[in-house]
Symmetry: C2
DNA sequence: GTGAAAGCGCTAACAG
DNA sequence: CTGTTAGCGCTTTCAC
């Protein structure tokens, strides 16, 4: 019940607090015998240093924050797994914050991190790329930040991302090759990095194929499931409905399955469907879902690895942009 | 770059540190005018108190830990969502630890929480129910703990769980009603709470139906995907293979889909499959998966809500066992 | 209504 | 090799 601290250990051993402190950290100033006595008692009493006392002195908390827009999304889940594993194996603790796609919430969270709670931050932005004042404030405090997937280039920071433009180009081209003439694209947002890059890849692919995109083909999510469902439903049920749909997050693909069932739209007969997704069940669905899959786990690990280098070897550290490749998995939902 | 702290604010305002501190916390000792001046400057400079300094004084970190066995499991994902939301809305921060089903890792994590890092803990046990010394050590420090899903009754603590015994009984009975004669059960472990409860429900249902279970019907996971896959594959491909399989975690159901495809075993024709699962794609699979679904999100919220009551109103708090109900969703994988 | 001072547990500079 | 001391940022008596 009563806390075990250095004072307690010191008094039990008839030593001073600082001697005990040094002994525990295996200082060369301390005799082997004293070290042994101290270590033994510490183990016996299950001494664990109070992390906050150390933080206060050293301005290091051995804690990092992860701020993500969403968690019901396998991309972020695998990322969390990678982040957590990499952090813990380097002795870091992970504070997790989910913004639920709400920029105000993100701002509040980020503001709270300004005073020593964490040593660094891995963030996948919820806020639009032109609304990053809150990040700037953190940056100015000198806090290392790694941007992850939904990024901004406003700061000289490490960025972990995938080849969104190329993947979207490749995906769209693939849909064209599979015979689609009217390909719609459902984007996460027109104001976040991945939304913009993917849209551009999509547009370029159409252009290169000599297809002039209809305005109605571009569906912009409001990150509100009900609204998004309606948006997609309208698009798929109007005259001149698209014969191909390329969605940017897996939720939208799932919504599309439901809509197609409701309206008897055959996939891939009437509509070919391709989605960015890390769904472990993609190959088990009816029809199986063709995906562009990002290396989420590896990205998570890389993000933390970069962050920890920035924290522990600041001299040797250079911010860089790491771009990994997604893979296109062709399955039934896009079959000819 | 330079940190904003009370000292800084005090010197800028020509006030003492303690006055500033009190003003910020709206103490009645301070004049309205002073409060206003202090608040204004604090806001302007984006002052955020150093959380660790406060922790050190008050023995409160406004942080809780969540320790879970796995994250690639929709049950835990929805739980995290509930936990995170409930915690944050009460001003708590959430440290997340994933043990990857490794008891040693759990022990290490739990030991690290012994000295003030967190105010309380929500844990879904990885360790067997008869191996909880590490939890006991925490408990003895007076740290409030909420057990979640994979529980132990060794301590007088709050428990959030579902009606595992009844659900397994109901699920098994349902499979019998659907015509299964030889129902296998794949359990997570024979030494954790949900494994035991679910197995007992399964056994009782067989017994009540006058079915004598074959020893080979009970498959015990080792939490090693390769081993588990082999275990299930062997069971499903031997002579006298079961005609019904009831799995305790969604991963095993997914493995079963793969195995059945590989061996041309028709679901539900040759094998009816039912699983505990929170898969959002259960209804979209081929065949759609019949599930027993736990209220994961609500359980997460409830866990945190109980924990925070224990932390903030210890006098009024009584540990209790909250048992929620799972629902059986009948889909194609168990059709007659 | 405001300020001085002690102290939370720890580290680190400095004595001895 | 061991101990004394100051101080990280904050809260909390206790003086004034």
């Amino acid at each position: 019940m009563e806390p075990i601290n250095l004072k307690k250990l010191a008094s039990l051993l008839h030593l001073s607090i600082s001697t005990v402190s040094k002994a525990l950290r295996d200082s060369h100033e301390i005799s082997a015998d004293t070290k042994r006595r101290v270590m033994e008692l510490a183990r016996e009493l299950n001494y664990e240093p109070n992390p906050y006392a150390g933080s206060l002195r050293k301005y290091k908390s051995k804690t990092i924050a992860v701020v993500l827009p969403d968690i019901i999304n396998n991309f972020f889940i695998f990322a969390i797994k990678g982040i957590q594993e990499a952090a813990y194996s380097s002795g870091y603790h992970v504070l997790i914050y989910i913004t639920n796609e709400n920029p105000d919430y993100e701002k509040e969270v980020v503001r709270q991190l300004t005073n020593g709670r964490v040593d660094g931050l891995v963030i996948s932005l919820t806020s639009p790329i032109d609304d990053t004042e809150h990040i700037k404030a953190l940056r100015e405090k000198g806090l290392p930040i790694v941007f992850f997937d939904r990024i901004t280039k406003d700061f000289d920071n490490t960025i972990i991302t995938t080849n969104n433009y190329e993947s979207a180009y490749k995906g769209t081209t693939y849909l064209i090759r599979q015979g689609c003439k009217r390909i719609a694209h459902c984007q996460v947002s027109d104001r976040i990095s991945i939304g913009i890059d993917r849209l551009n890849g999509y547009k370029k692919a159409l252009e290169d194929a000599g297809i002039v995109p209809d305005h109605d083909w571009i569906l912009t999510s409001r990150k509100d499931p009900a609204y998004d469902a309606q948006l997609i439903e309208k698009a798929l049920t109007r005259k001149d409905a698209p014969d191909g749909l390329f969605t940017s997050v897996e939720t939208h693909a799932l919504i599309t399955y439901d809509i197609c069932r409701k309206h008897g739209i055959d996939i891939p007969g009437k509509l070919k469907l391709l989605s960015f997704s890390n769904l472990p069940t993609a190959h088990l669905m009816k029809p199986s879902l063709s995906t562009i899959t990002q290396p989420a786990y590896e990205m998570g690990r890389a993000a933390v690895s970069q962050l920890i280098t920035a924290l522990e070897k600041p001299a040797r550290f250079q911010p860089e942009t790491i771009q990994m490749d997604s893979v296109l998995m062709e399955r039934e939902s896009t079959a000819r």
